[in-house]
Amino acid sequence: MLNARGQSTGRFLALATLCVLALALLVFGGCSKKQAPPPETDSTAFEDADSVFDEMGTIEGEGEPEPEPEATPLPDYASLEPAEFGIEDIFFAFDEYDLSSEAMTTLSQNARILRDDASGVTVLIEGHADERGTIEYNLALGEKRALAVKDYLVSLGISSHRLRVTSYGESRPFATGSYESAWAQNRRAHFARP
């Protein structure tokens, strides 16, 4: 009885081992199959990156870029709001369209981003004013602010063909309210998609 039980137990164990082995084989076999072409995975990633460049148009010379699997692909500027790729708005004092030193610092950063953007995306510089003053003068003020920003970016080497300007005067406020903190936010040159 004991013997018989021992025998059947042994047979069961053998069968179980076989099953486990077979399963393991299956599993590992599958794994090794998946892992087999790692270079292919890399080249796919590279091809994606390449197509991003293709979409954005111009890649200036320098041969083939080195494939870097961990590098994040460049954003598609053409489909983004300028703020999403780091281009910041410029702020002004009341009834002023001269650039402050902070404004120039911000514009230098903006110019660097625009220069690095190989796609040569075009941005629209919108000039805005706060609600105080007349409709017409605020439209002119917005235009002068946008033009001041454009001129400075051009002086930093950005092609004027990439920069368009328009003015909304006081008609598109970013902040509502009749107090200085709201007004200050509305006296700006904003970068937008044309």
Binding site: G133, A140, E143, L147, D151, R172
Partner: protein, 465 residues
Amino acid sequence: MKRDFLPRQAVDRWRPRQPGGRRHGGRRHGGRQCATIVLVAALCVLMSWLYPVAAQAQRPGEVVLHATKTAYQRTDLLMGLFDVLSGGGDAVATADMLQEVIFQDLGYSGFFRVGLSESEADTDSLVYEFTIEGTVEGPLRDAAATGEQAPMTISLKLLSYPERQLILTKRYRPSAEQERVTAHHFANQVIEMLAGSPGICLTRICFSRGSGDRRDLYVIDYDGENLLRVTANRTLNLCPSWSPDGKQVAFTSYRRGQQALFSLDTRTGKVRQVIAVEGLNLGADWHPDGDELVLALSHSGNPEIYRISPQGELLHRLTVSPAIEISPCWDPAGRDVVFTSDRTGTPQLYIMDSDGAGRRRLTFEGRYNDSAMWSPNGENIVYAWRQGDLTQLVLIAVTGENRRVLTDRSWRNSEDPSWALDGRHVVFASDRTGVFKLYVMDVVDGDWWQLTAGGDPDITPDWSP
């Protein structure tokens, strides 16, 4: 096909709303115009119904004008009897309307104090010099029963008082829609005859209504009646300017994304692009001859003043400076232009000739002077002056003398003035109620009335010829 939006120059050219028939207005507009206008008209009718302006709410017997304490140089006139000879209830309603509209027109003109009864002369110390009487003769058969729209025969008379010598008599047979116009027409005749001033009772004001970057152009009668929307393009439409013949309204719009100058044909409602250069295409003003415009363009890299043809050809550049140069306005003789420049660091008014030469500075007081409009007699300029936290209206002689502030602090901000052709009334936008609405002020004695009502801001009005 005629539209409501026509220059008011002859009785047969426009059709005003029937008094008391406001509820029918939408159907009448819609019957003649495209589907858009049906909606627009319905909206307007609803607006004017929901927000009756002061002008509509007033009746003879009520005090019409604000601040009429000093009846400065006014002539006293008695609104006499308006007899209904036949025609029943319709004729009575017409007579009431005629009396009401003429009463209001003469009061608004600024030349008269109008009383409604002889006894009123004692209580309000009026000394009547003239009186107006009328008769209304309706069709003998009941018009409603027969379905006919037989016109009333209206006879209006201006007489001396108390001698009752006939000075002026007019006989009209207007369609139902033209009855209100008849009253305006007669009031104009009285004003022109007794005051020697062009009557403004048939003029209108075009303006921009809406908020943020969605504002459309509307037209309204000078007394707040017959509001009509004339653009509907979901963008900014600003700064209308009537051509001297009233056939076109030039305006600045973003209807193609970028700012451009357009012109609206007031007969057909059709809009055409006049000029669209890069940047500003702003604040056009028609030359008094109607053959060119002056406006601000910034395609040179800076807002400058140019003369252009009505077809958009550049004729002459009038300013060259790195400063802002905007808001040009012709003098009524068409020789000089007043404009805004911030060449000294603050916006100030200057006058130059039509070639840009002979420039002289007009304003020295204040750090913000803009929106100059030359008066029809050529002697004065009204403009917006910003001091501290408020913008106020100022009247100044073209010599730079006799500077006078028209609005006190109770008006809060007052902007965008425009003259009526009588050189006495100015329409402008004020946010005295918290939202910019349009008001008309008599610059001689300071009387005023509210022209528009409702919740949306109304800005940049321009008074029709």
